[in-house]
């Protein structure tokens, strides 16, 4: 009996100390990780979808609260504004859609202040290499150029990659939905 109690106590202490140490490391690395993720994952896509700006959209990024999760914590959306002479003329933001097999496809969407879709760029996906991954190719992404934010998002999908194409469309729809709902906060 005493052995069992000792085992429980030792394991509990080790677990608790590890947990505490990890939470400290997590807090300490949170900001650099966010920065690195933005720099390596989002920056190439942001640069692709926005053109003609004279500011640094990554440094000028801002967060817009778009709702609450089930614990009551605010869900934040990161907006990358493109400015010319200090005035925002377009923004880039990310939407997510379900791809083939249920994995999420992240799509960076550039929208001008007038409500026109400038370009899209895939930030993250787990689609089949060589088939679903074709949604990242320019021949597909350029089909989204010029769509108005109040239009329904519908472009010709890639044959053989219907689900992946639909995933991109729903990601774009989600991003444009944010633009329509929160246009005041975003621009």
């Amino acid at each position: 009996m005493r052995d069992i109690i000792k085992m429980i106590i030792v394991l509990t202490i080790i677990g608790a100390v590890s947990g505490l140490a990890l939470s400290l490391v997590y807090e300490g690395t949170k900001a650099p990780i966010e920065y690195q993720t933005i720099k390596f994952v989002k920056e190439p896509a942001v640069k692709k979808v926005l053109t003609g700006y004279d500011n640094d959209p990554i440094a000028d990024r801002k967060k817009v609260v778009i709702g609450e999760d089930e614990r009551g914590k605010p869900i934040e959306l990161i907006i990358f504004p493109a400015k010319k002479a200090g005035a925002t003329f377009a923004v880039a933001l990310e939407g997510k859609g379900k791809g083939f097999g249920g994995g999420l496809i992240g799509v960076m969407v550039g929208v001008s202040k007038k409500g026109t879709l400038l370009d899209i760029g895939i930030t993250s996906h787990s689609e089949t290499p060589g088939i679903g991954s074709k949604v990242g190719e320019t021949s597909f992404t350029e089909k989204f150029k010029g769509i108005k934010t109040d239009q329904e998002i519908k472009v010709d999908g890639i044959s053989g990659a219907t689900y992946s194409s639909k995933g991109v469309m729903s990601a774009v729809t989600q991003a444009l939905g944010y633009v329509n709902t929160f246009s005041k906060e975003i621009f």
């Binding site: 052995d3 000792k6 085992m7 030792v10 394991l11 080790i14 677990g15 590890s18 140490a21 990890l22 490391v25 997590y26 690395t29 650099p32 990780i33 690195q36 993720t37 720099k39 390596f40």
Partner: protein, 203 residues
């Protein structure tokens, strides 16, 4: 054995992938370039050194029935620390090594050293053991990575070194190429050991 012996044994006598033939999964998977091999090796070394130290410090405190569970908690904590730090400061390397960073938890070298060495020896000897084995592992991965990079993409540390008409053996970058390179390295090491033994009086 002295502290120096504990340290140096990991560099040749029991150098992990070649002599112990342990932890082969990351060895074969990530050594497509020298840098990748070294990154993986250093991450493993960090975990090995600290898990050895803590297991050794706590060895009288942990009841033997729950020792494996305790070791795994200690190892897993350091793996998560490595993962977070790499993600924060070495993001491109973190992306390449991907799933193999969390998998350090189940690398049998680390649990093996905790069980076979650190739980029976003092903290300083355990530190030396962890550092030696870790560096041995890093060197092995680095050498293997360099060989595969040289033959598979014609570069060394991402600098092109082969002549211009050199056609890279893409095969070397694929998993079978890893086995072949590992086999050749193992054979070379055995040959050296044999020659050494013959010189030393033919044991």
């Amino acid at each position: 054995m002295s502290i120096t012996d504990e340290f140096t044994k990991g560099l040749w006598e029991v150098i992990p992938p070649f002599r112990l033939v342990l932890g082969l999964c990351p060895v074969l998977a990530v050594t497509t370039t020298g840098i990748n091999g070294m990154g993986m090796g250093l991450a493993t070394t960090f975990v090995l050194v600290f898990s050895n130290l803590f297991v050794s410090l706590l060895r009288r405190f942990i009841p033997s029935q729950v020792r494996i569970a305790s070791f795994i908690v200690i190892i897993a904590s350091f793996v998560v620390i490595v993962e977070l730090v790499m993600q924060a400061y070495f993001y491109p390397l973190f992306k390449i090594l991907g799933i193999f960073i969390p998998l350090i938890v189940v690398n049998c070298i680390i649990l093996g050293r905790a069980e076979a060495f650190a739980s029976k020896n003092g903290p300083i000897a355990s530190l030396a053991d962890g550092l030696g084995i870790g560096l041995g592992f890093t060197i092995s991965l680095f050498v293997l990575g360099c060989i595969r990079e040289l033959l598979g993409s014609g570069t060394l540390l991402e600098i092109p070194v082969m002549w211009s008409s050199f056609e890279p053996f893409t095969f070397m970058l694929k998993p079978p190429g890893a086995f072949v390179a590992l086999g050749i390295l193992l054979a070379t090491m055995n040959l050296i050991t044999q020659v050494q033994a013959r010189k030393g009086g033919g044991r």
